[in-house]
Structures are given as structure tokens and as C-alpha cells.
Symmetry: C2
Subunit: 209 residues, 2 copies
């Protein structure tokens, strides 16, 4: 086994460290966060830190760095109190990736990256028409992470849209049917296949391994 200590990691160049540490947590979900300013200027950003925080109430979080490319998203969320999360699928992977470029404020990533903004049910933030699973959220809280000056943005689900074929009988969403992909590191996108599904784990149904 190769072994890196904290000191070894700290001694890496910035890009090498970013690349390595973005890889170590495993596969990450590929999502597009859609927002609009108060006067309706849209913004779209790919983000890999979306995480399920709880089901009742239904809460989803993501981490926001205090950096230029993400500032438009955060400004819009603070100004309007809402955002959308939209799954990235095979056909839009490259377009989704390039939303991370640091475009000037007057450029909407929807236009530049040829993705279609869609306004549903009077919700202020734009959804991505191409996505097969999309979520509308209201800002529920934001927590400052003092250790590294990032912020945990917490949204409460107010709308959930998905292609009908994605819903299974037990309310599991079949992400393969939605074409949803995942990410590793900073730039590598992955297709996904079902390996196995196991029953709810209880001591009495645990196999003798």
C-alpha cells in the first residue's frame, strides 16, 4: 500500500492536492444547480457535493466554496431563497462539465452550454429541461464551516419531478433508467450499472459470512 501522511498531502502542489483529495471520498453524484437572480437572469453550475441530509423533512445539502465561479449561484440563492438540483445524464455530460468555466456574469451557462431552462409550477429558479430527475428546493439554512471558510447550503424539497419510468413500486428511483451518471475527482464522469440489491439489514437476516 502507498502511504501518504498529512505532511505528504500538504507538501503536494495545489493542483495535485486538489486532484487527489477530490478523488478519495469515492464516486460523487453529478448534479446541476439552477438559480436565477431577482430579475430573472439564470445561472447553472455543476456540483459534486450534493448530499442527502434527511427525509422528514426532506433536506438536501451541498458545499459552496467562496470562489468566483460559484459566487453567482450563491448570490442568487441568498437573494431569492430557492434553487434547483438536476441530475446529469449521459447525453449532457460534456455540456454539464463546461458550466464550471468562469464565464462572465452576463453569460448564462444555459445559453453558453446549450442546456434548456424550464420554469415549472411558478417556481422562480430554473430547472434543466433535459434532466430526467429534478428537484426544486427552498433555502432552509446555511452553515458556515469555519475550518475552511466554505458554507453548507441546506435546501428543503418543495417540488420533485421525474420521468414516470424512473419510479419503482417501492418508491426507489431507478437512476439507471434516468441515465444518471457520477463523477470522480475533478473531471472524470462514469456510467453506472446495477450490481446487487440487498434486503433491509437486521441481525436476524444477516447471512453467516
Amino acid at each position: 500500500m502507498t502511504h501518504f501522511t498529512a505532511e505528504d498531502i500538504s507538501a503536494l502542489g495545489r493542483i495535485e492536492r486538489l486532484t487527489l483529495i477530490n478523488s478519495v471520498t469515492g464516486y460523487k453524484p453529478a448534479n446541476l444547480v439552477g438559480t436565477a437572480s431577482e430579475n430573472g437572469k439564470t445561472n447553472l453550475a455543476i456540483i459534486s457535493s450534493v448530499v442527502h441530509m434527511g427525509s422528514d423533512p426532506p433536506l438536501i445539502g451541498f458545499f459552496m466554496r467562496p470562489m468566483v465561479t460559484e459566487r453567482h449561484t450563491m448570490e442568487n440563492i441568498l437573494a431569492t431563497g430557492c434553487f434547483t438540483i438536476n441530475h446529469v445524464h449521459h447525453q449532457i455530460a460534456e455540456k454539464a462539465h463546461f458550466t464550471s468555466a468562469d464565464f462572465p456574469r452576463e453569460v448564462s451557462e444555459f445559453d453558453r452550454c446549450a442546456l434548456t431552462s424550464e420554469f415549472l409550477e411558478g417556481f422562480h429558479a430554473p430547472f434543466v429541461a433535459e434532466s430526467k430527475i429534478k428537484i426544486g428546493l427552498e433555502l432552509a439554512d446555511k452553515l458556515d464551516i469555519s475550518l475552511n471558510k466554505t458554507m453548507l447550503v441546506i435546501g428543503k424539497i418543495t417540488h420533485l419531478f421525474f420521468a414516470p419510468e424512473v419510479l419503482e413500486q417501492d418508491y426507489h428511483l431507478n437512476l439507471n433508467a434516468a441515465g444518471t451518471i457520477c463523477v470522480s475527482g475533478l473531471d472524470t464522469y462514469h456510467s453506472v450499472d446495477v450490481l446487487a440489491r440487498y434486503p433491509y439489514a437486521r441481525p436476524e437476516n444477516t447471512p453467516e459470512f
Copy 2:
């Protein structure tokens, strides 16, 4: 598109809501969190909420619910200030899944689920010998999430171990080479293939879509 409002989600049965909302964020990393009590009793728990929080310092977070099955892990982290995160790969998927059963405190999931505890570099928390990517972390902070009484546990990486063939030249970790898998919903495990890798996105190298 099928449309669920917040009220529709709230009206679901508990299990249906858990199943649905655990699916909506996309693919999640499959990791085993290893801990030990002060007197060395080991504990192992699969967890799907591990998230990259930053690279300098290298910080990783995960969410802990105030529930029985996870309390042993949290008690150990608070008592000893450290834990490990170990990737789940194809060959250990079923064993890893069943660590989530609510075993009595005297049962170590390492023993019951036939996974091998491994102590490296004098680190107090056990690593999973079978994993090809494993991380030792010290507890850096914990944040109470008042909205749902969960907790964000934040660890700083102090040790990183991986099989040599996993490291690429640019410090990206090849998760396919490590056999790492991902999870959707509560119980579905997925194998992963590389779809595409794209260059760092800048306005000037963004294709005309």
C-alpha cells in the same frame, strides 16, 4: 413528468419517503466507517453520506443520524477523536451492506460480517484490510444541524493508504482500478465504468455546443 409536491412527499408512509428521498440526490459513495472504543472494541458501519469538503486542509464530512445503529460509531469518535473511511468494492459489497444491521454493542461488525480489522501506523481506529483505498482522519469539528437533529462530522485526513496501481500520474485516483462501487437509495449497489474525462473548464476552451 411525474410531480410530487412537499405535501405529497409528507403524505407518504415513512419507508416509502425514506426510499424516495434517499434516491433523489443521485449516486452516493459506498464507504465503511471504522472506529474503536477507548479500550479497543471495534465498530464498522456502512455510510453513504461521505462528502469532500475541501482540499487544503483536506477535510471530509459525513452526516450522522441520532439513531441506534449509528450511536456506537459516534460514541467512539467522540471518545477517541479519530475514525477511518474505507472504500467498498465489488467483493465486499454484501458484507458491507449488512454492517448496517442493529447488532448489539458487544458484537463487532468486523467479526460478524467477516471483514478484517487492520491497525496501521499506530492509528487508534481500525482500517478495513480488504479495502483498496482507506483514510485515517482526526475529528476536526462537529456541527449540529438544528433542522433535523442530525450532525455533520468533519474529519481532517491524517493518513491515506491506497493500492499503488490506483494512483494516476496527475494524482487522480482511478476508482475503477480499486473496484470501488456506489449506492443508490437505501440498498442498491452499482458498478461503475469510465464514460469520459474532460479538460479543466475555462471560457476559452469551452466547445461551441
